[in-house]
Amino acid sequence: MIEATGLTKHYGRTVAVDDLSFTVESGRVTGFLGPNGAGKSTTMRMILGLDRPTGGRVLINGKHYHDLHRPLRTVGALLDAKWVHPNRSAKAHLQWLAKSNNIPNKRVDEVLELVGLTQVAKRRAGGFSLGMSQRLGIAGTLLGDPQVLLFDEPVNGLDPEGILWIRQFMHRLADQGRTVFVSSHLLSEMAQTAQDLIVIGKGKLIAQTSTAQFIKDATEDTVKVRSPQLDRLRQLLTAEAAKVADGTADNALIVHGVEAAHIGELAARHDITLHELSPQLGSLEEAFMQLTRESVEYHSHD
């Protein structure tokens, strides 16, 4: 279990993480979701004791990371798959990591087998593709057979096959009862991977909830209406306390918070001709962007 309480990190005058409190439960895959620059990596570095929090604290199984005895046996973390010396072989990389926490050397061969890198164990890690580097990184996290696993954007830049492999691997880890905490900026990815979600934006907590609940709350169904008497319809709908926005097409309205059937009946009662009345299902990505719009650090300007 990972518990953050009032976690805060300032870099000079920039606030990277702002009074963040959350709990990551054992035995589940918890997604850590937020746009780029939201403070996900900084938070993960603070969990691992690599960065010193400006305020607050984060505990793993009730302990600070630096108080863990042989921490690789409790926490396996992959923050960046490229954190490997390019001229060192995959095997040598794992050997020094294993040695540092008194993990027997035969475990190195086991984890290489587990991620399917046995064939290339003697090759220099600098020549690995991104997918192979990710596998090597994951092998490193598994060395100490830890109960808690952290992954920072593990599918970034991977091909579909690699993404599928990582997703299945994480499910397997969670099925074994481990705590898996995985960050991503893609809600669609998290929807297929995580059971719980911690959503942050600009370093602040936006939501901590189950993935299903988050998607239900975040996606709002809308109705698209086209009519030659659009202004009249708009007045009526506004009077009904519906939220109305102009659609992208001519003579179209996007209506929030009112069902399509109700709009049809309303139009019939007032003799308004409708050319189109179609319910729109909210997309996950749109919903996520809606939620985090205020908290995206770098906007693109149209």
């Binding site: 570095r45 490997v84 060192r88 020094w96 540092s100």
Partner: protein, 253 residues
């Protein structure tokens, strides 16, 4: 002991330490071979066999700096601190491994140079190691390389970049210490306290008068005795190394 093994694996599973060691030994022993083969008219003194030790010193300091800076360059320092979060013990283990290796390379370089001089010089009557001073001229190179490695490790950990650390070491040792002597009035006084200038006195200073005519040896400067000169250099190296440990402990990795 475990962490010493970790740092040993790290050091020897990359290529740059091997290249640096080969280069250090090749430069020192190779150039000494040329000097020894061309030494004529007088017996070759012990000092002549270790003229070249400074070349190897710079290479070994680069090797030591690389041992730290490549860890920052490739992010393995973060994996290291993840594995051993107190940070100090892996840095000390690295220093022990690198310093011992530097000392061994220094001994190999000095005795290798001395040995090749014995083989190639015409008159080796003064080359035998007969006194404490003779032994200091040769075996002292091991100590100088070891202390130089400690200094370079400290600089590497403070700067965290290969280019920066190597530039600082080479510019300081090869340029700044000479240029500072040109400052009017106070230049000489500053120069005789510059660490690389002082430490050459440990190797070259106070030769046996029987071996070398008075004032004929390489110039040495400084107020300190040869061993005092070494203590001064080692003290500066250790101070910078300890500062780097404090910084590494406090800084975000």
């Amino acid at each position: 002991m475990t962490l010493l093994a970790v740092e040993r694996i790290k050091l020897f599973t990359t290529r740059s330490p091997w290249w640096c060691m080969v280069l250090a030994l090749g430069l020192t022993i190779g150039i000494t071979a040329i000097i020894a083969a061309n030494w004529s008219d007088s017996p070759m003194p012990v000092l002549g066999a270790v003229f070249t030790h400074t070349f190897g010193l710079y290479v070994i300091m680069v090797m030591a700096a690389l041992a730290v800076t490549t860890e920052y360059r490739f992010g393995t320092i973060k994996s290291t601190f993840q594995a051993v979060p107190d940070r100090i013990s892996p840095m000390v283990a690295k220093a022990v491994v690198v310093t011992v290796l530097a000392g061994l390379v220094g001994l190999a370089s000095a005795f290798g140079s001395w040995g090749i001089s014995m083989l190639l010089a015409d008159d080796t009557s003064q080359l035998a190691l007969n006194s404490g001073n003779d032994w200091r001229h040769v075996a002292g190179v091991g100590l100088v390389y070891a202390a130089g490695a400690v200094l370079a490790l400290g600089i590497g950990a403070l700067v965290r970049q290969t280019a920066g650390a190597v530039s600082i070491i080479l510019v300081f040792a090869l340029v700044l210490e000479s240029v500072v002597g040109f400052i009017p009035n106070i230049g000489d006084d500053i120069q005789k306290w510059m660490p690389f200038t002082v430490v050459t006195k440990f190797i070259f200073g106070d030769p046996d008068p029987s071996a070398i005519p008075d004032g004929a040896g390489p110039p040495t400067v400084g107020e300190l005795s040869p061993w005092g000169s070494f203590a001064y250099f080692a003290g500066i190296a250790l101070a910078i190394y300890i500062i780097s440990l404090v910084v590494v402990k406090r800084r975000d990795a």
